[in-house]
């Protein structure tokens, strides 16, 4: 991790009470949930991270304390730097502030977080499901959501599965 990124990390750790870490040369910063909008604003304006490359979430299901980690990947194009910001969220229906006012492309990413993980995003311009049908129940990418697969048909259970398989209404 080169020195410029080191300096940025120290500065962010002080101002936002964050905890930096490093793995295989990639810097990561754990920021408290309510500081995320300020941190994103600082990253873009002071440190020149112009692009929000990726925004996703990880579900540590059985462990309720920080149940979700929302992971932001920022990219500083002029200085060729990448930084990962993590936000820990607790409980099954967590809330999160939207940064789509700072990075416009966070709009769809946050809609996907809501759709796939059920993270309610506050003051998001248009929070709807993006990938699943509107009336879909449940949040698919959560660890406690079953993969929802169809039972594999063998010769011994072929008949009963055939009955249960929906037929096209002609």
């Amino acid at each position: 991790m080169d020195s410029v990124l080191q300096a940025i990390l120290q500065d962010l750790e002080k101002t936002f009470a964050a905890k930096g870490s490093e793995f295989r040369g990639q810097a990561s910063l754990l920021v408290p949930a309510d500081q995320i909008v300020a941190a994103a604003q600082a990253l873009r304006d002071q440190h020149g991270f112009g692009m929000l490359a990726a925004l996703s979430a990880v579900d540590y299901w059985p462990q309720p304390q920080p149940r979700f980690h929302v992971v932001y990947q920022f990219k500083n194009i002029p200085q060729k730097l990448r930084l990962e910001l993590r936000v820990a969220l607790d409980g099954n229906e967590p809330e999160l502030d939207s940064i789509s006012s700072i990075y416009p492309n966070a709009n769809w990413h946050e809609r996907e977080l809501w759709d796939m993980f059920g993270l309610r995003i506050k003051n998001h311009p248009d929070l709807r499901r993006i990938l699943m049908p509107e009336d879909w129940a449940g949040y698919p990418l959560r660890k406690d959501y079953p993969l929802g697969y169809e039972e594999v048909e063998f010769t011994f259970n072929f008949e009963e599965i055939e009955q249960r398989k929906p037929r096209p209404k002609e």
Partner: protein, 160 residues
């Protein structure tokens, strides 16, 4: 095909009504442009000059269901897309057939999960299943040839 086969060459060809109608239906069966995913690229590949599906009367991929006779479901059908597929199938005029191209359309394929309809035959009645992920253009054309044989075998009773 009719009596001239017994009485020798009468200079005219006699056939049955089924023979003529089925021949005309297999002659120009226009598929509907309904590519979903990776199989759609292979379907475009089989429409392109190297494999040229138009040799079998499939010259045009009609965009609207009103002018197409065959629906090739090329790709994986997601739960959100299922009602759309059913609506398109309903909006096709009467003599219509369905070819389910690829494993994902035929049985859900590698995706045995919440998002993919496990086989298009849950939504629309399928005539020919083409296996492969994605099936080679030759496999798709072979599937269409089997469909043509099936259509040639149809009887008047089926149309009633």
């Amino acid at each position: 095909m009719g009596i001239e086969s017994k009485l020798g060459n009468l200079g005219i060809v006699t056939t049955t009504l089924e023979g003529v109608v089925n021949w005309s239906r297999t002659g120009a069966m226009w598929p509907m442009l309904f590519g979903l995913a990776c199989c759609a690229i292979e379907m475009m590949g089989s429409q392109a000059p190297d494999y040229d599906m138009s040799r079998f009367g499939m010259e045009l991929m009609r965009a609207s269901p009103r002018q197409s006779d065959l629906m090739i479901v090329a790709g994986r059908l997601s739960r959100k897309m299922a009602p759309v597929l059913r609506r398109l199938y309903d909006q096709m005029p009467a003599p219509k057939w369905v070819v389910s191209m690829g494993d994902c359309a035929s049985c859900g394929g590698v995706y045995n999960n919440y998002a993919i309809v496990q086989g298009v035959d849950e939504i629309v009645p399928v005539d020919v299943y083409v296996a492969g992920c994605p099936p080679r253009p030759e496999a798709l054309i072979h599937g269409i040839m089997t469909l043509h044989e099936k259509v040639r075998g149809e009887k008047v009773r089926d149309w009633a």
